[in-house]
């Protein structure tokens, strides 16, 4: 045999769907398939966590779709069907869209006994929380059904039991019969927009008077375009329209308040995709994910597309004429990660998709998610200062997002199918036949894992017999700080083992696929070391 040659690859760069096969030869660290993996904050590609049922799995409103959620106080507010609910634990839900609540608030029993203030034709719900000078803040809820006025809710009292708290609820009149779809708190004002009767008008409340649109400091502005989303960012309010983006400046100064166009060429596809992330605003435009980077220069705005690497995935979303996707998005702050989920209203959970974008030192890196149906998702810090992430599905279930080792749709533990696929490696010379000797896979398991390694030669051609799959089983790693003596503790296992796996076959190029479909612990693929033997040029 000819002398063996080494080839090392550190996995970085994320999913690359835009480069052609020859371009990818120069980018060994990227992935051509990265499904249910995320870019790890410690480097490499990590299989994502699963999700678990919130509480005992009790649904707030039977099988009605979860239309929106927000973390509030020591629990969660969820809109479902024509109602809105609050729960501390997911075991029991308190309906909060109540009518005739006393101006000074109701106690628990009175509030529970009030008649419902039905949220007629409730659609995708939007939430805005005005922290103000209250225990938990005040919540405003609008919805894309545009059939009712914005809903106001406040809870006070710090006792753990809801029975010790006081509840406030009412509808807010904006202007006549305008029922805005979108809401946001911006610089002591509640700003709403998108009413079906005034699609291109934004209304803002009085200063520090979020439930009154007639008091001092209130007003309205008519734009050229239809509003699809609002986002307060630093001292400006960005107004996302279908085909343009504006920013509202100086809302507290009647003489200098102004609407300034940011762009009249690019709009936002769906307001649910807008998130403040990493000192910027990210949103889905028709040509991909974009950021609006506020810079030090006053009035200067930079627009940039950040998802060129996954442009074909984006294109698939917009060229799909069969499915009308519903979007949702969330930011996982501890992972520097933006996630957008999208699925058709009739699509099964297993077919539901998502895109994750992680901000790394190299910029945004992307991956895909399959099997999480999340028409509603939220993250936020609760009253105890803990970040909570929840998502809800179309059957009315709510889940703890990004936790556990399995998907649990409707409480049924389901395997996570995770796939990483490298580009074809030519080892520096596409013309030389290479016989693979062995591969060392650098993994960082978070428990017992058993991913599978697949090798395919020459772009998976059928002109070669391809080798069988092999297992990359790992034992529990030794993780200090989480061991239980005399129980499940494991000693002697490496934290990031280098698994040596003999492989067979030859070709001019080959790719590696590492995949798993199980409920084992997550693992991170750090990199690959390949030993191969070059032979003739053929």
């Amino acid at each position: 045999m000819a002398a063996s040659q080494p080839f090392s690859v550190a996995l970085q760069g994320g999913l690359d769907k835009s480069s052609n096969t020859m371009e990818l030869l120069t980018k060994p660290g990227v992935a051509t398939r990265l499904s249910n993996f995320e870019i790890s904050t410690r480097g490499g590609y990590r299989r994502i966590n699963g999700y678990t049922q919130l509480g005992d799995g009790t649904r707030p409103n039977s099988s009605n779709e979860i239309l929106g959620m927000t973390v509030y106080a020591d629990g969660l507010i969820a809109a479902s069907g024509t109602n809105i609910y609050f729960s501390q634990d997911g075991d029991s839900w308190l309906q909060i869209n109540k009518d005739s609540v006393a101006g000074g608030g109701d106690n628990f029993s009175t509030f529970s006994g009030r008649s419902a203030l039905t949220r007629t034709s409730q659609g995708k719900a939007h939430f805005a929380i005005f922290e103000g000078n209250t225990t938990y803040g005040e919540v405003i809820i609008t919805d894309e059904g545009s059939g009712v006025k914005p809903f106001y809710f406040k809870m006070t009292g710090t006792g753990d039991a809801l029975s010790s708290r006081t509840f406030f609820a009412k509808e807010i009149t904006v202007s006549g019969t305008h029922f805005p779809k979108f809401c946001v708190i911006h610089d002591k004002h509640l700003v709403v927009a998108g009413a079906a009767t005034a699609l291109n008008t934004i209304f803002y409340s009085g200063t520090s008077d979020i439930d009154d649109f007639t008091s001092s400091g209130s007003g309205s502005i008519v734009l050229d375009d239809q509003v699809v989303g609002l986002k307060s960012f630093r001292n400006e309010l960005f107004v996302f329209c279908k085909n343009s983006i504006y920013k509202l400046q100086n809302i507290n100064n009647a003489s200098t308040i102004a609407i300034v166009p940011v762009t009249k060429n690019v709009g936002c596809v769906d307001g649910k995709t807008i998130q403040e992330f990493a000192g910027d605003l990210i949103f889905l435009a028709p040509d991909g994910f974009r950021t609006i980077a506020g810079t030090a220069r006053i009035g200067d705005v930079e627009l940039g597309t950040i998802s060129k690497m996954i442009q074909p995935v984006i294109n698939d979303i917009f060229t799909n004429t069969v499915i009308d996707y519903e979007f949702s998005s969330v930011v996982l702050r501890d992972k520097s990660q933006y996630r957008m989920y999208y699925s058709g209203s009739a699509e099964a959970t297993s077919n539901s998709k998502g895109i994750t974008g992680t901000l790394t030192a190299r910029g945004f890196e992307w991956s895909e998610v399959r099997g999480i149906q999340a028409p509603a998702i939220t993250s936020g810090f609760n009253f105890a200062g803990k970040e909570k992430v929840y998502h809800g599905d179309r059957n009315g279930f709510i889940y703890n997002h990004d936790t556990g080792s399995a998907f649990n749709p409707e409480g049924v533990s389901t395997n996570i199918l995770a796939e990483y696929q490298s580009p074809d490696y030519d080892y520096g010379d596409f013309g030389t036949l290479k016989t693979l000797d062995h591969v060392k896979v650098s993994l960082r398991p978070e428990g017992a894992t058993d991913p599978t390694l697949r090798v395919r030669f020459d772009f998976d051609t059928t002109d070669r017999i391809q080798p069988p799959d092999v297992s990359l089983e790992t034992n529990d790693p030794a993780i200090f700080g989480s061991s239980i003596f005399a129980a499940t503790v494991k000693f002697g296992a490496a934290e990031a083992p280098l698994i040596r796996q003999p492989v067979q076959g030859s070709g001019h190029s080959n790719f590696f696929k590492i995949f798993s479909e199980d409920t084992n612990a997550p693992y991170t693929i750090n990199g690959l070391y390949i030993n191969y033997r070059p032979s003739g040029r053929q």
Binding site: M1, T435, D463, I465, P468, Q504, G505, S506, R533, R537
Partner: protein, 255 residues
């Protein structure tokens, strides 16, 4: 159990760290696997070409007609000189690959109507050149004269290698016994077995590796494999063709 085509192929594939075949995909092998399959048949032919009279290439077991130990018997016909070596062969491509021309034997034993004393003797091989020079003209002149037909003394090989001739032309029926060897049947199905004993399967794999390393342009490895093959051939030949005691006698008398 003799080594199968699949086992042999996978042995080479394993040595080369290539993907092994299964009985399911053996027939549809492509690429290097197909090349190795072909090289195994090529190697078998190489062995047969190098030593066609290795015992496992014999067309049949010897001694089928005791006490005569040839493995092919052809009955002569009075007045006929030339006989096809392989009676049912239509062309040279299906003929025996090798004949032991030094071991032809004629006898009237077991010939219908013959009684003792029987004819039973070996035939001396003479070259076509000698036969043409000394015997052909006179024997052909006598061909029409059955009175001059006689008991054959010599066996000759036809120029096309397909027939043997008897000289003189036989005067009656004799059973001619001789040894014949056939070319190995190409292996085809995954379960086909090689004719070599298992202990010599490595000679085939060595020769196959020689071809595969050439294919992969691993010249040094090809040279090593060729050396293995040559050593294997020497050993096989020594064990199977010349196993008799190697001693010499000298009957010269010195005065």
């Amino acid at each position: 159990m003799a080594t199968t085509y699949l086992t042999l192929t996978n042995e080479v594939l394993r040595e080369l760290n290539e993907v092994q075949l299964t009985s399911a995909n053996f027939a549809s092998a492509v690429g290097i696997q197909a090349f190795i399959k072909e090289s195994i048949n090529r190697s078998l032919n190489d062995i047969a070409n190098a030593e066609p009279q290795l015992p496992f290439f014999a067309v049949a077991a010897s001694g089928g007609t005791d006490p005569f130990y040839g493995n092919v018997t052809v009955a002569s016909v009075a007045g006929t000189r030339w006989y096809t070596l392989k009676a049912d062969s239509s062309s040279i491509t299906t003929d025996y690959s090798s004949i032991d021309w030094d071991d032809f034997y004629i006898t009237t034993i077991n010939v219908s109507g013959e009684t003792a004393p029987f004819v039973s003797k070996g035939l001396k091989f003479i070259t076509l050149t000698d036969w043409r020079r000394y015997l052909r003209d006179s024997e052909n002149a006598d061909d029409a004269d059955t009175q001059n037909h006689a008991e054959p003394k010599y066996v000759i090989r036809s120029p096309d290698n397909r027939k043997f001739g008897l000289s003189p032309i036989p005067n009656k029926v004799y059973n001619v016994h001789f040894y014949a060897y056939s070319a190995p049947t190409p292996l085809s199905a995954h379960g086909d077995t090689i004719v070599l004993p298992d202990q010599y399967a490595s000679v085939i794999t060595a020769r196959t590796r020689y071809y595969v390393h050439q294919f992969k342009e691993s010249i040094q490895q090809a040279a090593f494999a060729l050396d293995d093959y040559k050593k294997g051939m020497r050993t096989m030949k020594s064990n199977l063709i010349n196993p008799q005691p190697k001693d010499m006698t000298d009957d010269r008398v010195y005065f």
